[in-house]
Symmetry: C2
Subunit: 340 residues, 2 copies
Amino acid sequence: MSVSIPTIKEIAKRLNVSVSTVSRALSNHPRISEKTKEAVKELAKALHYEPNSKAIFFKQKKSHVIGVIVPLIYEDFFSKGISGIEAIAMDNGYTILFGQSYDSIEKEKQVVDAMKSQRVDGVIISLSKETNKNDHLKVLDAYNIPIVYFDRVPSAANVNKVYSNLFDGTVQMIEWLFKQGRKRIAFINGPAALIASKERLDGYIEGISRRKLKVDMQMVEQTDFSENGTHRAIARLLSLKKPPDAIISFNDYVHMDAVKCALSKGIKINEDILFASYANISVNKHTAYPPVVSVDQFPYKQGEAAMKMMMDILSHKTDGVEQPDPDFQNCELEALLVFN
Amino acid sequence: MSVSIPTIKEIAKRLNVSVSTVSRALSNHPRISEKTKEAVKELAKALHYEPNSKAIFFKQKKSHVIGVIVPLIYEDFFSKGISGIEAIAMDNGYTILFGQSYDSIEKEKQVVDAMKSQRVDGVIISLSKETNKNDHLKVLDAYNIPIVYFDRVPSAANVNKVYSNLFDGTVQMIEWLFKQGRKRIAFINGPAALIASKERLDGYIEGISRRKLKVDMQMVEQTDFSENGTHRAIARLLSLKKPPDAIISFNDYVHMDAVKCALSKGIKINEDILFASYANISVNKHTAYPPVVSVDQFPYKQGEAAMKMMMDILSHKTDGVEQPDPDFQNCELEALLVFN
DNA sequence: TTAACCAGGTCAATCGTTTGCACTTTTTTT
DNA sequence: AAAAAAAGTGCAAACGATTGACCTGGTTAA
């Protein structure tokens, strides 16, 4: 089975040259003659030599590994985000070290520590729910590990971040619903504590106001994301004297629960009431009642953008030297409407 | 910003002892006096010293990193599997290096190479679709990197693998449907080339036969997983003189498409026809028409089992020494019925 | 008294690779 | 033909931590 793994030493010995010559030959150093280079490369290939990245990265203080931390990988949004991150990483010869926070700060810290101890070159993170602080990530500073925040970003300005503009997307969605002739647009928001809720609500208010209509808070409900919570919200909306003719759900899960409840009350989905949502799961196209319109945040693209930003930061890092004035990057992607 | 990262050397210098003393003090070596140990540990804490795993792993030829390769992370099944893997890894001080094959052998090779070059301690892999060979993983042997196959396992016996028994699960599902009084049970299978299709079909045939009924291949349809493919299958089943009173779909995606189509033909879901499926997505509980019964493969548990197996293999690996007779582990988990 | 022993350390090699510097040969320039 | 430049290599240190072998000074047993 496992014969000893070939090293640069082995090649040097067999060719009767020094290890430094081999090292330089393999990296195409100009001071090495073509003849020697060829001999070395040939033998390297014959032995299936592969540089030991552990040793190299140890020496160069680089790992070519990026840590990626998300709250929950089985949320479609994040798994797609990771895919985008991974694609760009691969293209650049980087690999991904992976961790989940399960929306717990405690776990998040733990994962961050693991990443630190593995000496990743950088960390891309989507903060755990309800967190917009990033103190527990300060430890990475000491190790000079850059951080790119992704989607769930801290509010502070002095960080690198990639996120999408839900505000504009929401305004657009309402504009579109108006164009379909809907005037009583209801909104099932998430818990008020979430930044994501505030963003959406602000967009909702702006969208409604822009049409010179007054905002009716009767039309704004709230859910804790449980099926019951959503059912209560829907039930109240449907029991209004003037029930809505369009309902925007916080996300696709809420949307599905909303539809389920509305169906049971005999509502004709997307006829009596148009259902809209924020796209975050991909099964919609398979379900019987997808939302007619969604605000899509393009998680894959966001992932790509985050990794590109990371690559950029890493390439500008003057190795080992103190950064005089780190420029923080801010990438706001547009959220767009998609129709089913 | 980044002051230099503390090393063992730094501690030694400040305490005027040798690096070896520091190293031993930190690892609680009996030869070091309590006094020295305490002094060292105290300073280490004060400086926020953290061992450089790159250096350690380089020296010890261990990385404490496990490579995990799955076809598609945004398939619920795999993201849950990864979560299970990650949980056990965390508990054991391991981290996960992550890669997707996108069901392409080419990509799979690429990822395997990346893992190899990162010198992971082991690889857990779910093979890309339609592959049950593992030749391209042989390269890992040369580096003595153990492999645990997960869910999509090769048919060869001399490998470590974890998978679930779909055959039994399918038989059980049919038994249950019979108990509900259903006698005309149809089955929408996947492409014949897939092992997963064969497993299910075998279970189906066994389940039907066990009730001393003859298997009617009219009741077995096939889909290529496209919405149209599934619609065609459903359409044909519904147009039979004796249409089915139960339909088992290959998976939840197929199930949703099937329901969508059946609805449009006026079928009362789960009344006229009971719908069953193989659980692989978690949104089912939110959808309006979940399958009444599913065969669940418990991906999270499978992930845990795979990682535990890996830990076991790693702990039995007599470091550096040639393994005389590697014992291959085989873990077949039971797939169980779940009801909605 | 002297060898034997022990506690508590230190030394130095090692892992695989990179890289600045020094050292030979050539080749070129004067 | 001598000096200078260029080309091609080798030496050895370095990265951070581990570890077997080797000191040192004191206590104990013979």
